[in-house]
């Protein structure tokens, strides 16, 4: 039976009776639907998902420990992608078909085309090894003590505790992985903003506002941007999911102790419960993000607000 977690846990040397015993302990000898109900019951009432075959602890608890680093990385990348992508998109739309637009276009298309691991390798080779400006791997620079655990997010924790060295250390460690991860969504956001800004510029209300003598700055940054940006926001929940997925490569490359390292290990050792836990956490995270995005969209687009009320 391929992918039998009991067999995988015991390794290739294990005897059949040992495997059978473990299968029984893990409840794998029950019919599949019974297994499913036991699983659901444990999950809903005990908050347990089942033992990880690697650590023999509850997989959900294991995963939640690995979640904070991933969250830190993904949030930083998302912020970076939005902060760089939106202004670049606006700039490109305003210089449409000028050299700056073409340059941004080439840059963004390259951004989505770079394999993450390759970006990481290049950054590490040039910035870290070559120039020695930033740490190569890890969450903190070597020798910097870990800040007191409060949220699990090093940057936040070090700020709360006023630990300046840890703060600088964790920010410096975060820069390269965050850039690697942010490059592709940033490019996507930039292209999207450019397209929807150009779309907006042909709308009737823009003509009317211009005919009313409104200043072009106000028109661009207040009136058009508001409309152009709301679809970008609806996309951002998908972007988040996308980042979570791509964080795997980045975490492996930068030895970032997040979900990916855990999941990759789990995948190699066929730790089913651990994989389920990772998937579950990501699913929940996706739902939460979706909720926030919906709220944000309601703020930006009044039509959505009313549709909800009705």
């Amino acid at each position: 039976m391929p992918g039998d977690p009991a067999a995988a846990a015991l390794g290739e040397e294990a005897k059949p009776e040992q495997i059978a015993k473990l299968r029984k302990e893990m409840g794998l000898d029950q019919p599949i639907f019974v297994q499913y109900f036991i699983f659901l019951g444990n999950l809903l009432f005990k908050g347990e998902l089942g033992l990880s075959s690697l650590t023999y602890r509850d997989a959900l608890k294991d995963v939640s420990q690995y979640f904070a680093p991933t969250f830190e990385l993904v949030t930083a990348s998302m912020a970076l992608a939005l902060l760089a992508g939106i202004p670049l998109g606006i700039l490109a739309s305003q210089r449409r078909d000028k050299w700056l637009d073409h340059f941004i276009r080439l840059f963004t298309i390259s951004g989505v085309s770079m394999p993450r691991f390759w970006t990481a390798v290049l950054l590490q080779l040039v910035v870290a090894y070559g120039l020695g400006m930033l740490p190569v791997t890890g969450r903190l620079e070597r020798g910097v003590p870990v800040p007191t655990h409060i949220t699990g997010l090093f940057i936040v924790d070090s700020l709360i505790t006023g630990n300046f060295t840890a703060f600088v250390g964790s920010v410096r460690s975060l820069i390269l992985p965050a850039i690697t991860l942010a490059l592709s969504p940033m490019a996507a956001i930039c292209r999207y903003v450019r397209g929807s800004m150009l779309d907006e510029s042909t709308k009737d209300y823009v003509f009317f506002a211009r005919a009313n003598g409104i200043s072009s700055k106000l028109l661009t940054y207040r009136h058009m941007l508001r409309n152009a940006i709301s679809p970008v926001l609806t996309q951002s929940s998908l972007t988040f999911a996308y980042l979570l997925g791509n964080a795997f490569e980045v975490e492996v490359m930068f030895s970032w102790p997040g979900q990916a390292s855990y999941a990759q290990l789990a995948a190699v050792t066929k730790d089913v419960n651990a994989i389920v836990a990772v998937t579950l956490i990501i699913g929940i995270f996706y739902l939460v993000i979706n909720l926030f995005v919906d709220l944000g969209y309601g703020y930006l687009d009044p039509r959505a607000r009313v549709a909800e009320k009705a």
């Binding site: 391929p2 298309i109 691991f117 390798v121 795997f248 990759q264 990772v278 998937t279 699913g283």
Partner: protein
């Protein structure tokens, strides 16, 4: 002079007159817009070259036997005239492996897309046109798949099955079909509201007639555009899986796998990962440039 035209001549005249009109006109405009976009021509050129290289891989590779045979006495040679891109941990020529790997990367990418399209397009058509419970079902399934990043999905698949190139392809296709279902469904819902669909219905047309004769031709363009953009994405994610050791197994000369094996030897033996990554980058870039040009050519939004 008209009477002098032979029947075959008449036919030819008709054939020519058939070319103008919508498609003839559209094709001319399309070519114009596509050509205006020099970068997408570059993308197209790269794919032409790549196809050529993939077909004649064993003829073009300087050391064709290096696809599998190790030469341990030549380990980790840096790039030189003899080995343009150096050699790997088993003394194999990196350039040769990349050239031979082109067969795998391009064909698997295409296969994944084909698989995703064959599931996604009918699902989207049915869900958009029939609606109701079927629509709700398909879209909920799609939502669930959307909420799981493709890499994680691939992880799950490889845990249940064993890591291999085939399994990673299945996993990616599975993660990807909802995109097509969603695009097609959206287009169908849009087209369904068009007057000509109502007109066909009021003429007494059956559901299959409407779906295939009236709706399908109108949703093809976005699918083609999406596919050309997705080819790069599929190649990218296959490479990522290979890199993480969840796709093709070494010593398969798959680009991602080559890079993944080379990672261990960073930073001193930098050439293995760097050059295999470069091959992936250029190919994906070409696919994106091509798709971008096609989108501008087929779906002009801002004119």
């Amino acid at each position: 002079m008209r009477s002098n035209l032979s029947p075959s001549g008449m036919k030819r005249v008709k054939a020519i007159s058939r070319l103008d009109g919508f498609y003839g006109e559209e094709i001319r405009r399309m070519m114009y817009r596509f050509r205006r976009n020099k970068l997408s021509l570059l993308g197209l050129a790269w794919f032409v070259v790549l196809t050529f290289v993939a077909v004649f891989a064993y003829q073009l590779a300087p050391y064709p036997e290096d696809a599998s045979t190790p030469h341990f006495y030549e380990m980790f040679k840096p790039p030189s005239l003899e080995h343009l891109l150096g050699t790997d941990e088993a003394g194999r020529d990196v350039l040769s492996r990349i050239i031979i790997g082109s067969q795998i990367s391009v064909s698997t990418g295409l296969l994944v897309l084909l698989l995703a399209v064959t599931i996604g397009v009918p699902a989207g058509l049915a869900s958009g046109y029939v609606g109701g419970a079927l629509d709700a079902f398909v879209m909920r399934v799609a939502d669930v798949i959307f909420s799981i990043p493709p890499l994680v999905l691939a992880l799950c698949v490889t845990v249940v099955l064993t890591p291999s190139l085939e399994h990673s392809m299945i996993a990616i296709a599975f993660a990807h079909w909802p995109w097509y279902a969603r695009i097609v469904r959206g287009e169908v819902l849009h087209v369904k509201e068009e007057g000509y669909v109502e007109a066909a219905r009021s003429l007494g047309a059956s559901t299959p007639y409407i779906a295939f004769m009236e709706i399908l031709p109108n949703v093809l363009t976005p699918i083609i555009v999406r596919m050309s953009l997705d080819l790069g994405y599929a190649i990218l994610i296959l490479a990522a899986l290979g890199f993480l050791g969840l796709g093709a197994r070494p010593p398969t000369p798959e680009w991602g796998t080559i890079a993944g094996v080379g990672r261990v030897h960073l930073p001193s033996r930098w050439w293995i990962t760097t050059f295999s990554g470069l091959a992936i980058f250029i190919t994906v870039l070409a696919s994106n440039l091509l798709g971008d040009g096609l989108r501008d050519a087929l779906e002009p939004q801002v004119e």
